[in-house]
């Protein structure tokens, strides 16, 4: 019984959270509906900044959904629709920024960091391998004498009980 409860809870948590503001739009076919869902999830709501426009209840998001529906019905392709939004609201509305000179760091920065990191590790390892565990240096006569003197000394705590 307990196990079943646990299992069903787990399964419940796996099911995607239903997150979409409620609009009723008619689509010519399922493919168009699918594109509508994808587009509204790729575009960021300009007002409520950490939501996509599929998710947001802000009036502006609802306007943008209506606009995307209109553009889809007019037969615009996904690229044109995203361009339409970027022309008005700027690069900000894309959750996936376009690859340009300005966003190069964003796209390749992590990869570059990774390569640099791996490079540093590889270099360090190679250097260590080339000079294997350095043998202790021999003591010079003065050091030897000092060592002998130290060893000959009575330990400090010998007299204590």
């Amino acid at each position: 019984m307990k196990r079943w409860l646990l299992l069903s809870t787990l399964l419940l948590s796996l099911s995607g959270v239903a997150r979409a503001a409620i609009d009723t739009y008619q689509f010519a076919n399922d493919q168009m509906r699918e594109r509508f869902h994808q587009l509204t999830q790729q575009l960021r709501c300009p007002k409520c900044q950490n939501q996509d426009i599929a998710d947001s209840n802000a009036p502006i998001a609802s306007d943008l959904r209506r606009e995307i529906h209109r553009l889809l019905t007019e037969g615009k392709d996904d690229g044109q629709i995203i361009e339409f939004m970027v022309d008005r609201y700027g690069e900000f509305v894309r959750y996936k920024p376009a690859l340009t000179a300005r966003t190069g760091l964003l796209w390749f920065g992590p990869a570059v960091l990774l390569v640099v990191g791996v490079g540093v590790i590889a270099l360090t390892l190679r250097r260590r391998r080339r000079q294997p565990a350095t043998s202790p240096r021999d003591l010079d006569p003065a050091e030897r004498a000092r060592l002998a003197a130290l060893l000959a000394q009575k330990p400090l705590d010998e007299d204590r009980p």
């Binding site: 300009p46 007002k47 502006i60 970027v86 022309d87 008005r88 609201y89 700027g90």
Partner: protein, 178 residues
């Protein structure tokens, strides 16, 4: 190990700290407009008084502020007296009554004074959409040829006007003068 390598983590930390510190003072709600340097969009809409149809051509000839407002917008109420003052000082202000109830908008202008030389009734928000408006108040600064030169999101108060917008407006005026 080379000595200078020890400074690398410190350097990286400093760069990151500067970036993050700067980030503290950036307002994420202030989006740069995608329309700076682009012509004001074409439109054909009635004015708020319902007397005539306005088009883009009506906004040309002089630099102006184009203020997006609505009676549903609380901050617009705060901004309104400032616009009135500016209009009295001779600043040319056009209004876009954005997604508003026309009756309420007319009453507002009658009650609180009308600073707008022309006021466009953008009932379904189509012009607002083409302008990339995502809230109100928003104010665009257009030059005499109808090119959008600057956008201010949020309330214009005396400080904002004096420190940010007035110099830009003055520059546009100077530019328009032959």
């Amino acid at each position: 190990m080379k000595r200078w390598l020890l400074a690398v983590p410190l350097g990286a930390f400093l760069v990151l700290a500067v970036l993050l510190y700067r980030g503290l003072y950036l307002d994420p709600a202030q989006l740069p407009s995608a329309l700076i340097g682009k012509p004001f969009p074409e439109f054909s809409l009635p004015d708020t008084q319902g007397q005539r149809t306005l088009t883009r051509a009506d906004l040309l000839g002089k630099p102006a502020l184009v203020n997006v407002w609505g009676t549903w917008c609380v901050a617009c109420r705060v901004e309104h007296p400032v616009l009135n003052t500016l209009a009295e000082q001779g600043v040319l202000i056009y209004g876009i009554n954005y997604k508003d109830d026309n009756v309420a908008a007319r009453r507002w202008l009658a009650d609180y004074h009308n600073p707008y030389t022309l006021d466009i009734n953008d009932k379904d928000g189509s012009l607002g959409l083409n302008l990339g408006v995502y809230g109100a108040p928003e104010t665009f600064l257009i030059d005499a040829r109808g090119v959008i030169r600057h956008k201010w999101v949020g309330v214009i108060d005396q400080t904002v006007w004096r420190e940010q917008l007035a110099p830009l407006y003055q520059a546009l005026l100077d530019e328009a003068r032959p």
